[in-house]
Every structure is written in C-alpha cells, then in structure tokens.
C-alpha cells in the first residue's frame, strides 16, 4: 500500500488542499482551526505541524474577522496549499482602510527582526504599554507558526495574507 499521502508528494507549484469561504464571524474560528489541526495531522502526519497550523489559522482569522469591513462582499477565504516541501496558509479579506494602513506598517516592522526577536519585542511592547493593543498576533504567527508572512493587495480593496513555512 502506498503510505505516502498524495498531498505530501512534490508538486511544481503550491497544490490546493483546502479552500473555504465564510462570513467574517468570530464564531467560526474555533471550528475552522480545529478542522485545520485534524487536516494537517492526518495529511502530513505530524503533531508539530498541526500545532503550527492552529496558531496560523487562529491568528490570521482573528485579524481578518476583527478588521473586516462591514459590507456584503467581505466574505473571507481560507486556503491551505502545499508543494510537498512547504505549506502555505492564505486568508483573503476585505479590511477597513484604517486597518490596512496599520497592517502594512506592522508587517514591514516585523520583517526587520528575526521571528524570535520580533516575538520578544512584542512581549516587551505589551509589557511597557499595558493599555495599548497587544499586537502579539502577527509576531506569534511567524515565531510559533514557523512561517513568513506576506501581504498582497488585490483588486476591490481585498488583501491576501499568506503564511508560508516548511513542512
């Protein structure tokens, strides 16, 4: 029997394994995260990857839900892809304009530090500014999720946050 799941075989480009669309509601996040955990555990066979997937899904969806514009076309899309060597989580959303500006700034700031340093810096910021928003989420995705983050701005004001890391 072939014990190598087809999904973990090499593909020349990211191969879509999961796609879903849903309204930006907090109530969905737990269910989607746990689905992602089981999916990654079953497909790739490692608990470590399943745990990383949970962090990436939870934090990216939280951001997307919190800052989605309140319009009919603000549906979120989550996809998980793999080329057999790496895994990609991508979340497409329609954020409000104010959030988009701060997201750009925060992602740029994150890239200047390695993931561990950036996470520690976020802890220090949270400790020094008890009344301010924690902004731990993106730094946590990079460090605990073991992924790099990028953002594409798409037509119609939509953005796509992609988290890509090794399997």
């Amino acid at each position: 029997m072939d014990t190598n799941p087809p999904q973990s075989k090499r593909h020349p480009a990211p191969y879509p394994l999961v796609f879903m669309r849903f309204r930006p509601a907090w109530a969905y996040i737990d269910g989607i995260r746990e689905f992602g955990r089981f999916f990654c555990q079953t497909t790739f066979g490692t608990q470590e990857l399943a745990d990383r997937a949970c962090v990436v899904i939870q934090e990216t969806l939280e951001n997307a839900v919190k800052y989605s514009s309140n319009t009919a076309d603000s549906e979120l899309e989550l996809s998980i892809s793999s080329d057999g060597l790496s895994i990609e989580f991508s979340v497409s959303s329609l954020p409000d304009a104010q959030h988009l500006a701060s997201l750009r700034q925060e992602l740029n700031g994150l890239q200047t530090l390695d993931p561990e340093q950036a996470y520690l810096a976020a802890f220090i910021r949270a400790s020094n500014e008890p009344e301010a928003s924690a902004r731990l989420g993106l730094a946590r995705i990079r460090y605990e999720g073991g992924v790099e983050l990028s953002m594409n701005e798409e037509s119609g004001g939509r953005i796509r946050i992609t988290a890509k890391g090794n399997l």
Binding site: E59, L120, L136
Partner: protein, 126 residues
C-alpha cells in the same frame, strides 16, 4: 483567612478554573474568545492583589491543561508577570506550571521568561 482562595472564580467559555489553597490556580481548556480580558483580567488582578495581601512567597499558575489560547490570552499572562515585576514592596514568585507537550506553552512562556525572569519560574510537566 486566605484572601487568595477567596477570590471569586469567573465563568469563562471553554476554560475551567480552580483556585486551590494555599497558592495555586489551575486553568484548563482553551481561551480563544475575542476579548478574554473581560473575563480573566480582573480575576488575575484579584489573585495578584490577594497574593500580596496574604504575603505569599509564590503563586503557582498551572496552565498545563490549557491546550490552546489566542494571543489576547497570552497578553493576560504578560500583564500578570508585569504586575509582579513592577511591584516595589514585597513580591512573590509567579511559577507557571506548563506542559512540555503543548507547543504554545513552550514558545510563549520562554518569551515571557526573558521578559521578567527575576519574578518568574517555569516548571514543565508531561
């Protein structure tokens, strides 16, 4: 009478909380609500104040059964560590009991330790 064990335990979604004499609080489950501070920030602050009032040398926060939390919940632990760190009078050691099998605990408490190692202790259980 111990103030620590008299702190009222909030009812929070998906997380079970127990306060045990003389100095232990145990949390298990998950914390993923949008604003966990509404349930838990006041509770942690009350435990902190009670520990100071009771002149406890150590508070044991057993989070080994917390299988997943969001970053807003991690912020609550940062805040608690910061309160202890910033205490000018007598202060206690905040000892987190963590699980070596739970990934988020390994990464986040290691980061927390580097933030306030003079007042924190991390104990790992299986």
């Amino acid at each position: 009478m111990s103030q620590f064990t008299s702190v009222p335990v909030p009812k929070a979604d998906a997380v079970a909380i127990q306060v045990m004499a003389p100095n232990q609080v145990k949390l298990s489950g998950t914390i993923t609500q949008k604003d966990p501070s509404s349930d838990l920030a006041g509770f942690f602050k009350a435990l902190h104040n009670a520990a100071l009032a009771d002149k406890l040398g150590e508070v044991r926060a057993d989070v080994s059964g917390l299988t997943f939390v969001n970053s807003s919940a991690i912020r609550l632990f940062v805040d608690w560590a910061t309160w202890v760190k910033n205490e000018r009078g007598q202060r206690y050691t905040l000892r987190f009991i963590t699980s070596r099998n739970v990934t988020w605990q390994k990464t986040s408490f290691m980061a927390l330790m580097s933030l306030a190692k003079e007042v924190l202790a991390i104990e790992q259980v299986s």
